[in-house]
């Protein structure tokens, strides 16, 4: 746990315990498996999720409940099972933000939320295959 990995410029020091592994990567980035979630109080409820290895890659994440308190994506039991969630408290839910200029045009992908098991530090992007939530939903009206 105290083994500090090779740090790419721009990444703060971190340990293995902070790394979140996406065993299948994200669609379009299947080879990138290991990410850090970088949180800054001033950025709440946004976070950066930055790839640990390889060329610089990062995604802006947001807790969907911060702008959509009723967000309740229905996911298949099989999907939930692969995350080994034993207790809802272990589950961390984020959606990826596509940042735009002007910032108010930015959208969140509510169709492909990220589910993270914080106990095992494993995540998956789960695709919600119904029309309940859109791929590009505005964060501000």
């Amino acid at each position: 746990m105290d083994a500090t990995l090779t740090i790419r410029p721009g990444l703060p020091p971190f340990t293995d315990e902070q790394v979140i592994t996406f065993p299948e990567g994200l669609p379009g980035f299947e080879q990138v498996r290991r990410y850090l979630i970088l949180s800054v109080p001033e950025h709440e409820p946004f976070h950066w999720m930055e790839a640990v290895e390889g060329p610089r890659l990062r995604f802006a994440l947001v807790n969907p409940l911060s702008f959509r308190p009723d967000y309740q994506p229905k996911i298949k039991k099989a999907d939930l099972d692969t995350l080994h969630i034993l207790d809802p408290k272990e589950l961390l839910l984020y959606v990826i933000v596509t940042l735009k200029q002007p910032l108010a045009e930015s959208t969140a992908n509510l169709m492909g939320p990220l589910f993270i098991n914080i106990r095992e530090r494993v995540g998956r992007q789960i695709i919600i295959e119904n029309d309940a939530y859109g791929l590009r939903e505005r964060l501000v009206d």
Partner: protein, 99 residues
Amino acid sequence: MLVLTRKVGESIRIDGRICITVMEVDGRTIKLGIDAPRNVPIHREEVWLRILEENRLAAAAEAADIDLGSMADLLKQGGLTKPEEKPKTEPGKKPDGKK
């Protein structure tokens, strides 16, 4: 692309662990049954492509070096007021990023 001809009820097996069976054919619509380990993600191609494209867009947008602090401010000003929202579990990964 490998092209195989199958009849209703016949299957193809991929990599020893994935089995796709033609269940039903109705005109131009075909119903497929898929047996695969649970950790194998299976999606309709067009849905999967939309997610992939959006992920790429999201990663590219990051290159513009946008400050997430400005996003946070924007959400506070223009976003929804959250009267009864329970705070979601904080990530709490970063000792230095703690609230």
